[in-house]
């Protein structure tokens, strides 16, 4: 009986300790180029309610977290089964929004970004007029007349 009580207390205390640290299920987002499939080192990931943007690892190209800190001292701990919304962007790429249901383990999310076509449309060059003298008015208007 004593043994059972000790096990229950230990499990309960572990659960309480785990909850107090704010740790959730780790989620890892890989940001990759749609064409080359290479990691985009300058990419950032952000939750819509969050003010801060999280840079990906420049070498591996992923960002990982198990909890997010929102405004007004709120915490968003990733727990299995919880849907999570993220905005993934990078300079020169089209931003993507994703919604992901967190699993118990191996939450690896690849996000492929398309480049913004910078010069797909050719801007028409304006015609530059010659600078000619404008003819004077015929003198029928004005205070002197």
């Amino acid at each position: 009986m004593r043994i059972y009580l000790a096990v229950i207390c230990a499990v309960f205390s572990m659960a309480c300790a785990h909850k107090s640290t704010g740790e959730g299920v780790p989620v890892r987002v890989y940001v990759l180029d749609q064409v080359t499939k290479d990691p985009i080192p300058s990419a950032v990931v952000r939750h819509p309610d969050e003010a801060e943007r999280h840079r990906v690892n420049a070498v591996s190209g992923y960002w990982e977290a198990s909890v997010l800190y929102l405004p007004k001292a709120k915490e968003l701990i990733f727990t299995p089964g919880m849907p999570i919304s993220l905005e993934v962007s990078a300079p020169g790429y089209i931003t993507r929004e994703i919604i992901y249901d967190i699993k118990r383990r191996r939450n690896h999310i690849p996000v492929y970004l398309d480049r913004i076509e910078m010069d797909s449309d050719v801007i028409e060059d304006p015609i530059i007029q010659f600078d000619r003298d404008k003819p004077a008015s015929d003198g029928t208007v004005g205070p002197a007349n």
Binding site: I116, M118, I128, F130, D131
Partner: protein, 421 residues
């Protein structure tokens, strides 16, 4: 009855004869200058008309200056006011004649050829006139000569008596002109021959410089050298085709540098720009445009826009933003569809350039992580976000495509809420 008439006539005439002083007192009856061309004497239809009287068809005496008969209204010798000046057959200082007399001019030309100028002088004159002839200005000058011939003749007609001594001097002047005129007339045949000779020489022994470039090169500089650069409006068509040529470009450059008025500089600069653009000489065009915008005038939004487009192709993002903003300052120059289209383009150029700068700053920060690079990347991102948002706002307000500005905006802000499509 007849006796009565004769008596009355005698009585009527007696007092007048008594008071007569001379011919000038009877000028109405006996005009001093009866001829229609103003001379005191002339030959009309083979008959001499002089101060005095003439007779009409019925043999009645009329005043010599009367144009029509008093009794029957028939024409008299002095009727035609357009009768040509009768030729003076007396002795004059030199043997001269008028250009209109073609037969006489041929004879005189032969005489001058023998006695007058020698061949070398004539060749010089011919060379001088050949350039004029090439430009087809000779015809105009020839008309001027005719006018100068006619003018003194009319003046002489009005004041014949005073010119009695002068005619020789006055007449000489137009005739010298006539001489030149005749030589000019004579030119074309010889010029044609010489041109043919020159081209033959050029074909047989072309100069070493022109061998590679062909015959077209031979003609072009000659045409350019003759042309000035004062008339900018006349140069516009050549500039649009990129055919100003080196000499005229140099001329315009010197005119531009010597002019103190910005308006004149602007006009010249625009002609040079049009020429450079037509020649597709991008470096020269860029140099000219940069000079125009930095030193002459930057108030034309079309020029700023054009330069911004050019710089965007070269990837010079800072300058693109700079000149786009100058163009936006003067966007009020445009109106209607032109306004919305070009303002949209300017926003697009500016946002794209800012986005490119942000992208480069991010790369630099990744390569070299430090606070300065991070701050710079953050600053550039903020600017890219602002410009993209302004582009998006304008696109929405003007009812134009918001797809691309929205992408830029969301990319820079990382927030779809900031960039409502």
């Amino acid at each position: 009855m007849n006796m009565f008439k004769a008596l009355m006539l005698v009585l009527f005439c007696l007092p007048q004869v008594a008071s007569a002083q001379g011919w000038e007192d009877y000028e109405d009856a006996f005009p001093a200058l009866p001829c229609p061309d103003g001379w005191a004497s002339c030959v009309v239809d083979g008959e001499v008309v002089s101060a005095g009287t003439v007779t009409d068809a019925a043999g009645r005496v009329q005043a010599a200056g009367s144009r029509f008969g008093f009794w029957d209204f028939d024409s008299l010798p002095a009727q035609d006011p357009f009768t040509e000046l009768s030729e003076y057959s007396g002795k004059m200082g030199k043997s001269r004649r008028y250009a209109k007399d073609d037969e006489a001019s041929d004879a005189d030309r032969d005489k001058r050829g023998k006695k007058g100028k020698n061949k070398r002088d004539r060749d010089k004159d011919r060379d001088k006139d050949r350039d004029k002839d090439r430009d087809k200005d000779v015809d105009d000058e020839r008309e001027d000569y005719v006018e100068t011939v006619d003018e003194p003749a009319e003046e002489i007609v009005e004041e014949p008596e005073e010119v009695v001594e002068e005619p020789e001097e006055v007449v000489e002047e137009p005739e010298e002109v006539v001489e030149e005129h005749e030589e000019v007339v004579e030119e074309p045949e010889e010029v044609v021959e010489e041109v043919v000779e020159e081209t033959e020489v050029a074909v047989v022994e072309p100069p070493s410089e022109t061998k590679d470039t062909g015959a077209g090169f031979v003609e072009e500089p000659a045409a350019e050298e003759d042309d000035g650069c004062d008339d900018l409006v006349a140069l516009e068509s050549a500039a649009v085709l990129g055919q100003l040529g080196e000499s005229r470009r140099r001329c315009l450059e010197s005119e531009l540098s010597s002019s103190s008025r910005l308006t004149t500089q602007s006009k010249i600069s625009r002609v040079l720009l049009a020429d450079a653009r037509a020649r597709k000489d991008r470096p020269d065009w860029e140099r000219l445009m940069k000079r125009h915008l930095q030193k002459i005038d930057r108030s034309d939004p079309n020029m700023c826009l054009s330069f911004a487009i050019h710089l965007s192709r070269k990837g010079r993002s800072h300058d693109v933003i700079k000149w786009s903003e100058y163009a936006l300052e003067n966007k009020s120059e445009w109106s209607g569809r032109d306004y919305t289209k070009k303002v949209y383009q300017l926003h697009r150029l500016r946002a794209s350039a800012a986005h490119g700068l942000w992208e480069r700053a991010e790369k630099k920060f990744i390569e070299e992580r430090n606070d300065a690079n991070e701050a710079k990347a953050s600053r550039y991102r903020a600017r890219a976000k602002t410009f993209a948002r302004e582009w998006l706002d304008y696109a929405k307000a003007s009812g134009q495509d918001t797809t691309k500005p929205s992408k830029y905006c969301v990319s820079a802000s990382g927030n779809t809420e900031y960039c409502p499509g």
